[in-house]
């Protein structure tokens, strides 16, 4: 593993761990949702490092997985925001 790969792998895992912490430990729904997004960013970063294969050539498969993963995460986040609004308006009633 090159030093750059090592650095990116460490950052990817750190993002994942921090996001997991926010998702599990934060009391505020919006923070939890952001935590899940940060977790996702961690996984996507790892996939991007993976795409930079050992031989230096780029592997398109992890890139495609990242695009799919991002779209899924955006959709889940949108649904989460709508649900947060629903819980807030329900608690006002």
């Amino acid at each position: 593993m090159s030093p750059v790969d090592l650095l990116y792998t460490a950052l990817a895992v750190a993002l994942f761990g921090l996001g997991l912490g926010a998702l599990a430990l934060s009391a505020r729904p919006l923070k939890k949702l952001l935590g899940a997004n940060v977790m996702g960013t961690g996984v996507f970063s790892l996939l991007i490092v993976t795409a930079r294969g050992p031989d230096g050539a780029t592997d398109p498969v992890p890139h495609a997985l990242v695009i799919t993963g991002i779209v899924v995460t955006v959709a889940a986040t949108g649904l989460g925001l709508a649900l947060i609004r629903r819980t807030r308006s329900a608690s006002k009633d």
């Binding site: 895992v13 795409a51 498969v61 709508a82």
Partner: protein, 213 residues
């Protein structure tokens, strides 16, 4: 307790990092994806993966966008729309930027077959343009909830029609298999529909997730 769990997560992350460092990387599929690319009808390998090799992933991903848009619309409280941004800056931004955004989105969609770009990039940009119109009070179409949902299903529709249509017409029965001579055009057709569908889905998610001012 919180501190304990936090320390636990940190240790788990460290263990994962150690495992990743200790594991030699495999060669990946880059070489194979390139050697077969002539069959796919596109020359951008990422688009080849998304719309041909792993087109089924992309279909399910469009289903996620569609179902999230429908669910968010159904679940969000029916509040009055937030007050639009106004003033000369907002006016100019919406008026000047939107045509350019639509144009660039179209370009990204088109170029995706040979260079970085494609339906998702185009759709996010297009949705950005629509949201710009939305927040400046120029409510872009689709205006009704029903139309918005039907439009968000466009990408799934294109995948099903082309996937089933070709399987039946070619007699192979293999879903999502695009015959080589038409593969490029079929992919562009699916991507165009997917661009509109994803953009409609993202706009619906924005509308559902925006709280009134």
């Amino acid at each position: 307790m919180t501190v304990l769990v936090g320390v636990g997560f940190a240790l788990v992350s460290l263990a994962l990092f150690a495992a990743l460092v200790a594991t030699p990387e495999a060669a990946g599929l880059g070489a194979l994806a390139r050697s077969e690319i002539a069959e796919t009808g596109v020359s951008n390998p990422v688009t080849a993966v998304l719309l041909d090799y792993r087109a089924y992933d992309t279909l399910l991903e469009l289903v996620v966008v569609l179902l999230a848009a429908v669910a968010a619309g159904a679940l969000a409280p029916r509040d009055p729309a937030p007050a639009p941004l106004d003033g000369p800056v907002a006016e100019a931004a919406a008026g000047l930027l939107t045509p350019g955004i639509v144009l660039v989105a179209g370009y990204l969609l088109w170029i995706g077959s040979k260079a970085p770009g494609g339906a998702f990039q185009a759709a996010s940009l297009l949705a950005g343009g629509l949201i710009l119109l939305e927040v400046t009070g120029k409510t872009p179409p689709p205006r009704s909830e029903a139309a918005s949902r039907a439009l968000a299903g466009l990408g799934v529709l294109a995948f099903l029609v082309v996937g089933v249509g070709v399987a039946v017409a070619a007699g192979s029965g293999v879903f999502l298999d695009h015959p080589a001579p038409f593969a490029g055009s079929l992919i562009l057709a699916i991507e165009s529909a997917a661009t509109l569908g994803i953009a409609a889905g993202l706009l619906a998610l924005f509308r559902a997730g925006t709280a009134p001012a």
